[in-house]
């Protein structure tokens, strides 16, 4: 369960990236954040994995005030969320296996945990047979699957994807989306920021549309272009 309460975010340069955003995301749901570039999609995600704290308002995840988290607690919080980016952020000098294991190694996991969890994560994304390869030997879609395996290796409750298919061709995009759906079916809450219209339209999932730092539409089985604003008003009326 994720709750944003009157969240505003002003960057140090004065840009108001989010303006009194209210949003509830149920446990185990799948949600698209859509909107033009610069409308605040990434900013919302950054608040959710505590890369940033809001200028005002509350970010509550599973009952925890993430915006109030002490600095020392942030690393432990991060272990309960997975994050995936457009540019994969893999380490070129490490193999597929090592890239996934890295997330466990640097957080003090035991060798036993690593040997148990890494194959499971690689199996989930269907890359067990390529575990010895290096990122540059893989297709874009495969690289993104490695990144997803790394994000999931600790079995987080939330998976945040910021334009995960931004660098991929349609075939790879479909592949990644199907993978994210499967992950969601296993109980992980998945939030995908994207401006890929085709994907959003096809998936028929909840779509939250942003414009200029505000949520302008929120539809349960939406498409990229939503015009029924009542969904939003009814949601907002609750608070």
């Amino acid at each position: 369960m994720i709750q944003l309460r009157d969240v505003s975010l002003v960057y140090s340069n004065g840009v108001r990236a989010l303006d009194a955003v209210n949003l509830d995301i149920a446990k185990g749901s799948f949600l698209f954040l859509v909107g033009h570039s610069g409308t605040g999609k990434s900013s919302i995600l950054r608040l959710m994995y505590r890369e940033l704290v809001p200028t005002s308002g509350q970010v509550i995840m599973d009952g925890i005030r993430v915006d109030r988290l002490r600095k020392g607690r942030v690393p432990h919080f991060r272990r309960s969320v997975g994050v995936v980016f457009q540019d994969f952020k893999l380490l070129a000098g490490k193999t597929v296996w090592e890239n996934v294991a890295f997330a466990l190694q640097v957080t003090g996991a035991s060798t036993r945990e690593i040997v148990r969890s890494v194959p499971r994560a690689l199996d989930l994304v269907g890359l067990s047979h390529k575990s010895r390869m290096f990122p540059h030997e893989l297709s874009g879609g495969e690289q993104q699957r490695v990144a997803i395996a790394r994000a999931l290796v600790r079995s987080p409750r939330f998976l945040f994807c910021d334009e995960p298919t931004g660098n991929l061709d349609p075939a790879n995009t479909t592949e990644i989306m199907e993978l994210l759906l499967r992950i969601n079916l296993k109980g992980t809450t998945v939030i995908v920021a994207t401006h890929n219209q085709a994907v959003v339209d096809r998936m028929k999932r909840r779509v939250v549309r942003m414009d200029n730092g505000r949520i302008v539409a929120d539809e349960e089985r939406g498409s990229y272009f939503v015009d029924d604003v009542p969904a939003l008003t009814s949601q907002k009326a609750g608070y």
């Binding site: 942030v74 690393p75 952020k89 997330a103 957080t107």
Partner: protein, 293 residues
């Protein structure tokens, strides 16, 4: 920490060290130069203070009594002086003894049978605990009733004290500057490593590595830079001592065997610790600005 984790950590450290070998070399070299100078200065200081102490410890104050003085006056004076804690030894030399001493001294140089009347006054010879207090003690003695004149080797004492002081001041100044330079260079090396590994660091932070975990390899890197630099310096100093010192002492036979007294083990330990502490501290400072989650 199980073995796999330890091995991973060691690999991280070596990845850091090999990342920019050139810069690493510069850092170690700077530490080495600094520590060589520090070691030399420590040695020179130690030697000078030993030579100084040796010379100074032989310096005596002579206090001559007035002609009217008697053995009674002398006894009173001795009592007074014995209460001054700075004074370690008081020897009374009645004029007869002084005269006899002088005679033996002059024997063969002049016709001592011509020395008929005794020109010497009664005197005390006084030794003090610390060379620095010679002047003070002399001044106090001068004011005691019954004492006519106080002398000591003013020049030597003052010069030696001044030389020691200057060496100390200049040495400390140079060392501070050098340590600062070395620290800055190590800091920059660590910063370059941090910069070279910024992608990894960003991923570590993203997946939830603690700040102290991310810092550790860099701290160890600084520690190793400092320690290796100091070890190189100790090697150079040891070589110099084996090669150069005997020649130096041969060239200056009048220097009273300074190096025999220097505690080499302690200096080596001090230098290694200084290097390691310098490296650790420098990397700590370098990381301060970067790795705050």
């Amino acid at each position: 920490m199980d073995f796999g984790r330890f091995r991973f950590f060691v690999r991280e450290v070596f990845a850091n060290l090999s990342r920019n070998a050139g810069m690493q070399f510069t850092a170690i070299g700077t530490v080495a130069v600094t520590i060589v100078l520090l070691g030399s200065l420590l040695f020179v200081r130690e030697s000078v203070s030993r030579i100084g102490a040796q010379v100074l410890s032989q310096i005596e104050i002579s206090a001559y009594l007035t002609d009217a003085s008697t053995d009674d006056t002398a006894a009173q004076l001795r009592h007074l002086m014995s209460q001054d804690s700075r004074i370690t030894r008081i020897t009374y030399i009645p004029k007869s003894v002084g005269f006899a001493e002088m005679r033996t001294h002059m024997e063969g140089q002049i016709d001592t049978s011509l020395m008929t009347s005794n020109p010497l006054p009664n005197a005390f010879r006084i030794q003090v605990r610390r060379p620095q207090s010679v002047a003070g003690v002399a001044a106090r003695l001068q004011r005691l009733p019954g004492i006519a004149k106080v002398t000591y080797a003013q020049d030597i004492v003052l010069k030696l004290l001044r030389v020691t002081e200057v060496i100390e001041r200049v040495g400390i100044g140079m060392i501070v500057v050098l340590l600062l330079v070395a620290a800055i260079i190590i800091s920059n090396t660590i910063r370059l490593t941090v910069f070279a590994r910024r992608r990894e660091i960003a991923i570590m932070q993203l997946v939830g590595a603690t700040a102290s975990y991310i810092r550790a390899p860099f701290i160890v890197e600084g520690f190793i830079d400092g320690l290796v630099g100091a070890a190189v310096a100790v090697g150079i100093l040891a070589g110099a001592q084996a090669e150069l010192l005997p020649k130096l002492f041969a060239a200056m036979p009048f220097v009273p065997m300074a190096h025999a007294g220097v505690d080499e083990h302690q200096i080596v330990l001090q230098l290694l610790c200084t290097g390691a502490a310098l490296g650790t501290l420098a990397s700590w400072v370098a990381l301060g600005r970067y790795l705050r989650t």
